[in-house]
């Protein structure tokens, strides 16, 4: 029997959401201050309004709904799913008031795309956008990539912290407590921020010949979108704007760092480093990257778009790395990407669908699930081929020796299948609107796996239903379904429960 949620359930959920909104209100002071410093008064007003709404909801949640009981698993999941819906709604206020969107839903689309680190955009005329609004778009990707819940957990954890932590699609607790794990993740990010912005800023200033302040601006934006595998860019031509192999190289390093799980970061920092390369996840991602890279390069060679190997390799490598890490940066325009048919299209689509490592800022099915699926299939084949009573080894290495259990296989398979279903959902809707299969599938996978590469389907003139479906895909893909289903179950119980 379904039990209808009672007032106390709502108060618990409201109280935790209130705390998170207060943390986001504090974070949204940054673009407000930025707008004030650079005297962008129109965006300043919209940031003030957004901060006030976050603060008001936060205070109402915390003060009017005092915590009366512990946050259990289902409460935690509902908090996560709702937070990831409401924060983009309020975060879209400055985007909507900017005048750069044709309809309010488009602004929400961009806020959702930013927070989920997807990178698809419906923003018109980014080349004339205020720097503070660009900062907010990219900072949203940083908040979303790190995890807004994680940001809140750094400050408060309480007894429900672990639920919230896992609800935000993290499956690995690196240190004994959630708070210390959250702080470690922030420490890794801040170190990367310092090195990333410095390196990109220096390249911009010394190699590209930009003004110093613009170099730092480009460095900061590219860091936010690169390390958090978001893919927004302050200029309309993405990383192709810079026309620099050095800039692309530094960006590539940031994308790789972003797609690595924080567990791998921990092992690389504290050791033992050799264990990183023994991990099933690392081996899987290296294999799939190599496979999709070869596929894409062969496909590109067949298209004849590139006349020399150096050009083909440079462009192919960057695009496939961007796709596999779920970043969405590009160095070729969407109109050209749409022409990458055949094997090149296959390589890109597979890379996007597979995604980065678990517990990273990347999206997609994730390489650990791919590795475990392959291992399970191989074991099944062995079981069939070997004598009836032969034992097939189930051990694998992932931060230590582990065993492939039926429960684990089931969980991996379910999530992987849900991703496939999500990819097909958007592709099907696109097809129904008359968009060719290749383009529908590419854009759908890009939205669901939070990549952001586009072949031009995502456009302000796109059908509203398709836009809504892409938003759903971004949200569900980022949260890896569990929190989303919990919210749906909670809502159903509220309506039909007794």
């Amino acid at each position: 029997m379904l039990i209808r949620p009672v007032a106390e359930d709502f108060r618990v959920i409201g109280s935790y959401m209130g705390r998170i909104f207060l943390v986001v209100a504090a974070a949204s002071l940054l673009p407000l201050i930025w707008a004030g410093i650079v005297r962008e008064w129109h965006p300043f007003g919209s940031f003030l309004l957004m901060t006030a709404v976050f603060a008001l909801l936060g205070v109402i949640g915390v003060r009017l709904a005092p915590e009366v009981s512990e946050l259990d698993w289902s409460h935690g999941m509902v908090v996560v799913a709702l937070t990831w819906l409401i924060v983009p709604m309020i975060g879209a206020i400055p985007l909507l008031l900017s005048g750069h969107f044709g309809r309010p839903l488009d602004a929400l689309f961009d806020a959702m795309s930013g927070l989920t680190t997807t990178g698809l955009s419906l923003l018109s005329d980014v080349d004339h956008l205020a720097s503070s609004l660009n900062f907010w778009r990219h900072f949203l990707q940083f908040l979303g990539g790190q995890g807004i819940i994680l940001a809140a957990l750094t400050i408060f954890a309480g007894t429900g912290g672990i639920t919230l932590y896992f609800g935000e699609a993290r499956d690995e607790r690196i240190l004994p407590s959630v708070t210390s794990t959250a702080r470690f993740i922030w420490a890794v990010s801040v170190v990367h921020l310092i090195f990333g912005v410095t390196a990109l800023g220096l390249v911009g200033w010394l190699v590209l010949g930009f003004d110093f302040d613009r170099s730092i601006f480009h460095g900061l934006m590219t860091f936010f979108a690169g390390f958090d595998t978001g893919g927004f860019s302050p200029q309309s031509t993405s990383i192709g704007y810079y026309h620099s192999a050095v800039f692309e190289g530094v960006t590539a390093l940031l994308m790789v760092a972003g797609a690595m799980s924080f567990g791998v970061h921990y092992a690389l920092w504290r050791g033992p480093r050799r264990s990183v390369f023994a991990n099933l996840e690392t081996r899987t991602i290296l294999s799939t990257f190599g496979f999709t890279m070869v596929l894409t390069l062969l496909g590109l060679a067949a298209t004849g778009l590139f006349v020399n190997v150096a050009g083909l390799t440079r462009q192919g490598f960057f695009q496939i790395l961007s796709a596999h890490t779920g970043t969405g940066f590009s160095t070729v325009p969407p109109i050209e990407l749409a022409r990458w048919g055949g094997l090149a299209f296959g390589g890109m689509a597979i890379a996007m669908a597979l995604g980065g490592m678990g517990s990273s800022t990347a999206g997609g099915v994730k390489s650990l699930r791919i590795g475990l699926t392959v291992k399970a299939v191989v074991n099944q084949i062995k079981q069939v081929l070997l004598p009836e009573h032969a034992l097939v080894g189930t051990a694998y290495h992932q931060s230590g020796r582990k065993h492939l259990t039926p429960v684990l296989i089931q969980s991996v398979m379910i999530i992987s299948l849900l991703y496939v279903a999500l990819y097909l959902l958007g592709a099907g809707i696109g097809l129904a609107y008359g968009i060719p299969l290749q383009e529908s599938l590419f854009e759908s996978v890009s939205a669901s796996a939070n990549v952001g590469l586009s072949v031009g389907v995502t456009d302000p003139s796109m059908p509203i239903l398709l836009e809504l479906v892409y938003m759903l895909q971004m949200w569900a893909g980022r949260l890896e379904f569990v929190a989303v289903f919990s919210l749906l179950g909670f809502a159903y119980a509220w309506v039909r429960g007794k």
Binding site: Q235, S236, E336
Partner: protein, 177 residues
């Protein structure tokens, strides 16, 4: 004599043909992006707004972006309608042509509208895979200008009211603890 004139006319015609064939093709930025491979190595003339940054590199060139979209004619801040993404290509301009330009387009400026003629380098072999126009001549057809910035007081007032409300709720409920 007539024969001589005919020969001279024909010679002139044949001389003229190669001249017209090598003349720069007038194209839009969108056409360059659409027909990138077909125009590879061709001399093109294209018009648009300079946006983003002027990057002065050690090899004596200046890089920037040329946009050929509706925002070049009417920026959103001057009443232009949101009509989708920008349409831009890269320009590589010799330093002697790129000096003295107004600031590039951005939030505060509508960049200069220029008409450039140059070679369309599509997936250039010397700069692996990059595409851009190697500019040979540049004419400013409309200087850049500063964009007005009006202050909208409505969100500021609403924001302040909500902040006061949030503070009041926090203070009132705190005093009731």
């Amino acid at each position: 004599m007539r024969r001589l004139i005919r020969v001279a006319v024909l010679a002139g015609v044949f001389l003229f043909i190669p001249v017209s064939a090598s003349a720069a093709e007038e194209v839009s930025v969108a056409e360059i992006l659409e027909m990138g491979a077909d125009l590879a190595g061709e001399e093109v003339t294209v018009e648009g707004e300079l946006v983003g940054d002027y990057g002065f590199r050690d090899d004596g060139s200046m890089w920037t972006q040329l946009n050929g979209d509706t925002y070049a004619l009417q920026p959103i801040r001057e009443g232009g309608r949101p009509a989708g993404a920008n349409v831009g290509i890269a320009l590589r301009i010799p330093l002697d042509l790129g000096g003295g330009l107004d600031p590039p387009g951005g939030y505060r400026y509508r960049g200069p509208i220029v008409r450039v003629t140059g070679i369309w380098k599509y997936h250039d072999t010397t700069r692996p895979g990059e595409s851009y126009v190697e500019v040979q001549s540049l004419t400013v057809t409309e200087p850049g200008r500063q964009l007005d910035q009006e202050v909208d007081w409505t969100p500021i007032i609403f924001g302040l009211v909500l902040l006061v409300g949030a503070g009041a709720i926090g203070w009132l409920t705190r005093s009731g603890d």
